[in-house]
Amino acid sequence: MSTITASRTDNPLTAGQLPRYAPWALGAVALIAGGVIDALVLAPFDIATTIFFGAVLFLPLNYLAGRLVVGRRAAADRLATNLVTGAFLLALLPLVSLLWEVLAKGLPRFDATFFSYSMRNVIGDGGGAIHALYGTLYATGIATVIAVPIGLMCAIYLVEYGSGALARSITFFVDVMTGIPSIVAGLFAYALMAMVFGPGTINGFSGSLALAVLMVPIVVRATEELLRIVPNELREASYALGVPKWRTITSVVLPTAVSGIVSGVILAIARIIGETAPLMIAAGFTNSINNNPFANPMMTLPVFVYDQYAHPGVERDFYNERAWAGALTLIVLVMLLNLLGRFIAKRFAPKTGR
């Protein structure tokens, strides 16, 4: 046995190194410098501009430090890392600010009264959005019941059966439908109901139709993608066992993709639950609870928010507070749907445990 000992005296692989705290220290220096500039040039001192100046100073500082101590490549690495992180923070900024604003302004009226009263006979303080919450649940619920089977089966057709001109044109029109302005969907539903049930037919179901028109292409797209990534080997394995095609689809392909499909559907619901324009046209406005989607206008949360903001009474503050609380309710709903989607995706995902 011979032992090989490496010489530790002169290793050509080493390079100069900055301590790990260097970026933080530089950041602090840049921030202080930014504050000083801010106070001197832009007086009075302001925290937002200080951070801005600090960030602008930090980029070249960090680059220079890397350049002087470590080398060119490391300096470029630092710069790129900072730019990417900066872009991420910049993208996060409006989101956080929006959430903060909605929380701050929505929470005062996010109370029991808000979820137990409608706006019937309310002209000042009090009142709530229970009628709009019901309406939103009805409208999106019915839209989901209409759109999911159609979208699912359309996607199955495109992936498993479709070929040639028909499939290509369906794909094309699904793409076109994805881009339809939502108000056009509302006009479509309104016109359809007017044709079938006479002019001026405004009810919850009409709103559901409009939402379904918007939802179908989203469901088709999501499901299609997921069905396409189910490996062909699984289909062949099933065929080779003498399983007919339709059973292969229902028992092998769909279960394999189900977690993704369910979360896709839930994201589609989350996407349409906040639609405002089509519901204003097709479902209308009301201040009362309407539990019948097939007659009379039905209020929904987005329309409620718009209505409270756009048509306030004498004491405007009460109406604004309710609008913010309605917006907060919508965000909470969408968040709950997303959490549900994640939970279901995890629950149904093909298991890999040993």
């Binding site: 070929s163 080997e233 699984l234 394995a237 066992l241 003498g242 399983v243 007919p244 093909p350 040993r354």
Partner: protein, 259 residues
């Protein structure tokens, strides 16, 4: 329950492309027949015509006859689903159903066809198939765990168990060992020797030692060049093909001077 396969004048197409031309051969019952030949010569394509899996690919079709004990697979009114229930298949890459447990994977042919079965019968069949595939001892304590948690070699044997659970007349194997290590390969080869007592087995392989070890008869396929159709060059007893083949091309391929 094993059956004789007779193929006459079979052409396989992918759309307009003729992939395999004019194959005529007889595959004997209770024997192992190996298909060898260079990549792209149509071995797998031809194998897939024997249980009508070829036509699963869009645009693919065949001309000619395949008789299993006298019944034409490509006769009018033949349901490919019924054919595939008699002619099982094991694929090159292990493909257990990821949503199913080991147990459900083995019984997949019955479960997916919604065939009712008594619990005791199902357990018997499960054990018999897994023993048949040399996998029982390794998985008997975790039958309810997902099939995709097994190693590659175990997954392939699971797929074999799934195929033989259907009790097919014929078992087609498309390079079943190409993704396996030597030990798993040996296990599968031992299994093939046992299975041929009851089934007619057709195996595609790139491994000539494997063909020599496991098969009774060998068929050599070759291709004239890119874009030309694959052809059956020669078929005969494995000893003869590997010692004194009639065709020069076969000898060149087997001795490694070509291919």
């Amino acid at each position: 329950m094993s059956k004789r396969i007779e193929v006459t004048d079979l052409n396989c197409y992918y759309g307009k492309f003729l992939a395999v031309e004019d194959v005529t051969m007889t595959i004997h019952p209770r024997s192992v027949t190996a298909f060898i030949g260079p990549s792209g010569c149509g071995k797998s394509t031809f194998l897939r015509t024997l249980n009508r899996m070829h036509e699963v690919i869009p645009g693919a079709y065949v001309e000619g006859d395949v008789l299993i004990d006298g019944n034409n697979l490509y006769g009018p009114g033949v349901d490919p689903v019924n054919v595939r229930r008699q002619v099982g298949m094991v694929f090159q890459r292990p493909n257990p159903f990821p949503t199913m447990s080991i147990k459900d994977n083995v019984l997949a042919g019955y479960k997916l066809n919604k065939q009712r079965m008594k619990a005791s019968e199902a357990d018997d069949l499960l054990e018999k198939s897994l023993r048949g595939a040399n996998l029982w001892e390794e998985v008997k304590n975790r039958l309810d765990k997902p099939g995709s948690g097994l190693s590659g070699g175990q997954q392939q044997r699971l797929c074999i168990a799934r195929a033989i659970a259907m009790q097919p007349e014929v078992l087609l194997m498309d390079e079943p060992c190409s993704a396996l290590d030597p030990i798993s390969t040996l296990a599968v080869e031992d299994l093939i020797q046992e299975l041929k007592e009851t089934y007619t087995i057709v195996i595609v392989t790139h491994n000539m030692q494997q063909a020599a070890r496991v098969s009774d008869e060998t068929a050599f396929f070759n291709i004239a060049g890119t874009g030309a159709p694959g052809k059956l060059i020669e078929m005969g007893a494995t000893e003869k093909i590997f010692s004194t083949p009639d065709e020069k091309a076969t000898e060149d391929y087997i001795t490694g001077r070509f291919g």
